[in-house]
Amino acid sequence: MTEQAPSRLPSGRHNLPREFVVSSQRDRLLDSMAQACAEKRYAEVSVADIVSRARVSRSTFYEIFPDKEACFLAAYDAILGRFVTEVIKACQDPELTWPEQIERGIATSLSFLAAEPAFARMCIVDMFSAGPSALERYLSAVRLIAAFVDGGRQVMPGREDVPQSISSMVVGGAAVVIRAEIVDERTEFLPTVGPDLLYSILVPYMEQEEALDRSERYASKLAGGTLG
């Protein structure tokens, strides 16, 4: 017995309900789309690629998705949904103060992306070439994270006057840093930019000295390997 679940259901006759088969085929197609996008540009990925990787027939593909873009968007939603859920869950630990929640959110995001390079490329890089719907999904994820960061104006003393758009800028800017690392094929080292991102996101909402201290403590935790 192997520990790993088989990625493909047994072929031939089996008693699995059809719904389950479809969902598994769908999952394999989504997975194949993400894998294909990690290896080449979205524009170069073909339906033929995806069906051969997923080991489903072309007609099955078109029963589930009208076209390549629909498959990309479904894959994108699935992974982005999982990403946002995981990050928000990590952030919302009531034991943590707001700056600690931000640090936890950054660390969780970067580890997630480093562990899933195919998804990282798809979510942060490829959505720019996959049409307006993909871009709109990316922007709504950015808005969700920015709204959490904007909470700093209420939570941190004396920061009501920080403009609301600062949260959009620091989150958008952090995404540009992450994208540059992925494009330079440094995805596995993404966690190392964490302290810089923490500083950039915190500094509008606290004294500069405290933001520097927190960023430096984060960097030494990383260097000491004491961060999950």
């Binding site: 920080v162 758009s165 800028m169 800017g173 606290m206």
Partner: protein
Amino acid sequence: MQQPQEELDPFGTGKLPSGRHGLPREVVVRSQRERMVESMIAVVALKGYTETTVADIISNAGVSRATFYEQFADKEDCFIAAYGTVMERMLTYVAEGFAVNESDDWIVQIRGGVRNLLVYLAQNPVAARVGIVEGFGAGARARDRYQQAVSSFFPFLDAGRKLNPAPDRIPSHVARVIVGGVSALMFNEASAGHAEKLPELLPEMMYMVVAPYLGHDRAMLAMEETQIPT
């Protein structure tokens, strides 16, 4: 003296007289290239990158298809040239604005640079569309060109770091967060079709540029001292 080009050339194609004219070949080639690049900027701003075709470009520029493919490998290649042209113009506007007040106060210089860029984009929605919005949907090369353009703005930020008493403590990726963040906000405004409102964002952008180097209080001051350009 030559008249300004706009008057001689109402369609802005900058086309040279056709037929025999005795102009050196490199002048012709350069003029054709500029026309194709300018046509790409104009057509992409109108139709978006995806809908733009090589046929649009050559008919707008008044060149043959063969001429197009002598100078560009494909539509993307021509777009990258157009995108690069717009990026260089944006950089020039920032540099000119940075120097305009002849001040050695970095906050005054930065405000001049960002103001000049925002006013330029507000008055040239075509440049805003191509430089800020369409570049993101145009594939991997445009994306790489964007990252390169982001780094070209870093020298304007170095002086801010030096004003901090402990410049080495400020994390190195801060410059990318600032330029990326400012461009993300410009993207939001320009992609919603509100390029003309970009100058209204100057005070908030000043806060964004100043805070990471000099902290919240100085950033608030820089924001409050900033007049919205009219």
